[in-house]
Symmetry: C6
Subunit: 76 residues, 6 copies
């Protein structure tokens, strides 16, 4: 998985993608085996409770990224 | 799903709507299949625990949006 | 449900009430059917785990509101 | 339950007490019936998962209070 | 349990210890009976889900403490 | 486990590693017995709900670390 070199992104949309990448990066760090992760993916993608847990992690990572990018403000 | 071009909204009400959109955007990113999401929706909309998980995600996304909008303050 | 026009409240007490309103507003947005919400209310109001989930959402919304109101400080 | 007139406390210790009061205030708002709350209390005070949910709410409320009090810093 | 007189610590390591103390302080406030807490401890120390709940509380308390200590920065 | 002497890291990537270390440090503090932790590890690394709990802790710790490092910004 690509190294995290910066929290700065060009747009909020790219910030969302980075938030999702950071969430995945954590999962990879805790469960490095790709096959195990693949077998687990089916479970969480079809279970609303787990989908929402994942969305909560993305929301937390995005808070960090939005702040780092000064919220992508044009005027300040 | 529409691209996220900005966190800035005209009013707090629009900020709430954006928070809900961001939460949905995460769910779409994790579970891209629309039919699967549709079948899951019935489950979480009638289960209080899951409803509250969803409301928690909205609260987190709204924290980010409110900060980006300097809390929609008129006087600072 | 009333539109959210401002995060500014006169007192911290009103800020708490707004935090509860925001939490409810999220639930309404996710489950718009009033009868379904009514039937769900009994469940979460008598289940400590769900009560605490609700209190957690209120705490998150209050964080946002307190910051927007500069914590209702008299001296800064 | 006493009205919340200020987030400012004399000491961090009083800030912790206020955080616990805010958490309780939310529970009271959601479940106003005292007898029901009393019967629920036994459940959450002897269940570690629920104890930890409660401690998490206190941590969130304390974040808000500590910030409002500028962390009770003597020098800044 | 010792009174909380300050959030300021000499080092980040001491900040972690304080975060753990604050989490324990909340548990003591909610469940004041030491014997009950002792019997509960075995449960959460051998259940990964509960261990992670506890670690999450520590993370939240540490956020507050790190901010109060200006992140223990040498240069600012 | 190594003492935490600083939250400052050279890069965001090292910040992620520190976030994971802090999460592990909490688990060690709550469950000091290495053999017990080892037996628990299998459980949480193959259970998506627990994997996501762990990722949530990492997200919270990373928020703290990113802020301490001024988000590793080159220009401010």
């Amino acid at each position: 998985m690509a190294e995290l070199t910066s929290l700065i992104t060009a747009t909020p949309e790219e910030g969302r993608l980075l938030a999702i990448q950071l969430a995945r990066k954590s999962i990879v760090a805790i469960q490095p085996d790709g096959d195990t992760r693949k077998s687990l993916r089916q479970a969480y993608a079809t279970d609303t409770m787990q989908l929402m847990m994942a969305a909560q992690i993305v929301a937390l990572e995005f808070q960090t990224i939005a702040l780092a990018n000064n919220h992508w403000k044009k005027t300040d």
